[in-house]
């Protein structure tokens, strides 16, 4: 029960605690980093280096009035913000953090993560339609459209990895990368997946569902207090999920680069996994700081006319090469 192995209670508790704590820390980290990118300092007052900023935020959100607008659909309005953190945490069950560290290894791991990422869009859609407000409805519509079009090539871009590793299980994929990371043979797939991951987690520059300059705050305009906090935390868990998924799929997961193993197998695995996912978190923040939001038609054009053909091309070429090598 308390041994270090996949699915033991100790490991589950550790992963859940780490993910929740890191999601809270991520809010502070993003604001701080964004400050540095903008030649500012960011929040640095609460605790050492402002590390307790999230605690202050949570206290503020909990003590705020938890208001449900009288014109809203009450049941849907309450259910919508719960969906996104739950499905994002469920996705974390699939992530293999290190040898023997993980919650469950389904043989359809990738499909499960994709399904849960698709479920997350219900949060934005239901929140948008339940608010009964034109800006929220626009935000919900945009979320739905964005999810449908970017989910398509997100899945297709992963099929190259699946072909190479011959498995849908994320742990098998990591183990198949022991001799070489998939980012080299699957570079196109990596780029496409990266863009789709940004869009899936509503990260900038694809934050059209809540585009502040256009539709106030999009689908969460009517939300206040901890209901807004759940949307917020859910998106940050989603960002952390994508930052863990990209190393697992393309950067060798827990495998050390250039054989730089530190300590034991498990410790080294956790260390390198953390380094890689932190690097992607920093990259996501950099993307937020640097890139401008596209128009909605540009987003759709880009998705269907550039990214989808690219991912199909990647799939075709990878399949052809594997077929030729196999025969």
């Amino acid at each position: 029960m308390f041994e270090i192995k996949v699915g033991s209670l100790l490991v589950i508790a550790l992963i859940l605690g780490t993910v929740l704590a890191f999601a809270a820390l991520l809010i502070w980290m993003e604001r701080r980093l964004l400050g540095f990118f903008n030649d500012r300092l960011g929040p640095n007052r609460v605790g050492p280096f402002g590390i307790l900023q999230s605690v202050a935020d949570v206290i503020k959100l909990i003590t705020k009035e938890d208001w449900i607008p009288p014109f809203a659909d009450k049941f849907t309005f309450v259910v919508a913000p719960i969906i996104i953190p739950v499905v994002m945490l469920l996705s974390f069950a699939m992530i293999p953090f290190a040898p023997n560290i993980g919650i469950i290894d389904l043989n359809i791991g990738i499909l499960f993560v994709m399904a849960m990422a698709g479920m997350a869009s219900y949060s934005a859609m239901l929140g948008g339609i339940a608010s009964n407000n034109k800006f929220s409805l626009l935000g919900g519509l945009r979320a739905a459209g964005q999810m449908i079009s970017y989910e398509v090539f997100m899945g297709i871009s992963l099929l190259g990895v699946v072909i190479l590793s011959d498995s849908f299980m994320l742990r098998d994929i990591v183990e198949a990368q022991a001799d070489g990371w998939y980012v080299i043979p699957q570079f196109l797939g990596f780029i496409v997946f990266m863009v789709a991951a940004l869009a899936e987690s509503h990260r900038w520059p694809f934050d059209l569902p809540e585009g502040e300059s256009e539709i106030i705050s999009g689908f969460n305009t009517e939300y206040s207090g901890m209901k807004f906090g759940l949307f917020f935390v859910g998106e940050y868990i989603g960002m952390f999920l994508m930052a863990c998924l990209i190393p697992v799929l393309f950067f060798g997961g827990w495998h050390a680069p250039f054989g730089l193993e530190i300590g034991g197998e498990v410790f080294s695995g956790i260390f390198w996994m953390s380094v890689k996912s932190l690097a992607f978190v920093v990259f996501f923040v950099l993307v937020r700081a640097a890139l401008a939001r596209p128009r909605y038609d540009q987003l759709m054009n880009y998705g269907w006319l550039v990214m989808l053909p690219l991912s199909l091309l990647n799939l075709l070429v990878t399949g052809a090469i594997v077929l030729l090598q196999g025969s």
Binding site: R40, L41, V287, A289, A290, L291
Partner: protein, 182 residues
């Protein structure tokens, strides 16, 4: 076809360039001034908190002429004139509501005696709204403020206490009007 391809490549290249340029900002010094620890320098003529000054002899400069209250665009100054036994005018009360004051400095410009002056103090927040209303005893300082030598009653023609007509600085003795008759 080729044109569209070149266009897409240009778009992607410009995104990469902007990512790199913004990344370089990580190594720049932040422009933020951490305010409560590092105070900004305010110049002597900064228009901040309003004070009432005294003349070099230590008497109140204010002569309760009401010009400041008239000049004030938001009507935040209230005062009442009274006189001491020497005939010297002074305000019985002098009240400024700092929650209304817009720090325009018109009162300072209107003041004929340099009594009311604006100072570089800009930290005027209070927890209780009523604390924003300052009375004379809060504003009156034991100094001359920005103008060290000016003493209104020493240069004005008004007779007060020991000083009679014609005894002020740079003032000629009163002319006997009858001597001017043809």
């Amino acid at each position: 076809m080729l044109k569209g391809f070149v266009h897409q490549v240009n778009i992607i290249w410009s995104q990469i360039v902007s990512l790199w340029l913004v990344f370089l900002h990580l190594f720049r010094k932040a422009d933020t001034v951490e305010y409560p620890e590092i105070k900004p320098h305010t110049f002597p003529r900064w228009r901040g908190r309003i004070i009432l000054t005294r003349d070099p002899d230590g008497e109140e400069r204010c002569v309760a002429c009401n010009l400041c209250a008239v000049a004030c665009p938001v009507d935040c100054i209230a005062l009442q004139k009274t006189e001491d036994e020497n005939g010297r005018w002074y305000p019985e009360f002098f009240r400024i509501n700092f929650s209304r004051c817009i720090m325009c400095g018109f009162c300072e410009e209107a003041c004929p005696t340099h009594a009311i002056q604006l100072t570089p103090d800009f930290e005027m927040a209070e927890y209780v709204r009523q604390d924003m209303v300052w009375e004379k005893e809060h504003m009156l300082i034991n100094g001359t403020g920005k103008y060290h030598d000016y003493n209104f009653y020493k240069v004005a023609g008004k007779a007060i206490g020991s000083k009679g007509k014609g005894e002020a600085r740079n003032e000629l003795p009163p002319t006997d009007r009858r001597s001017l008759l043809p």
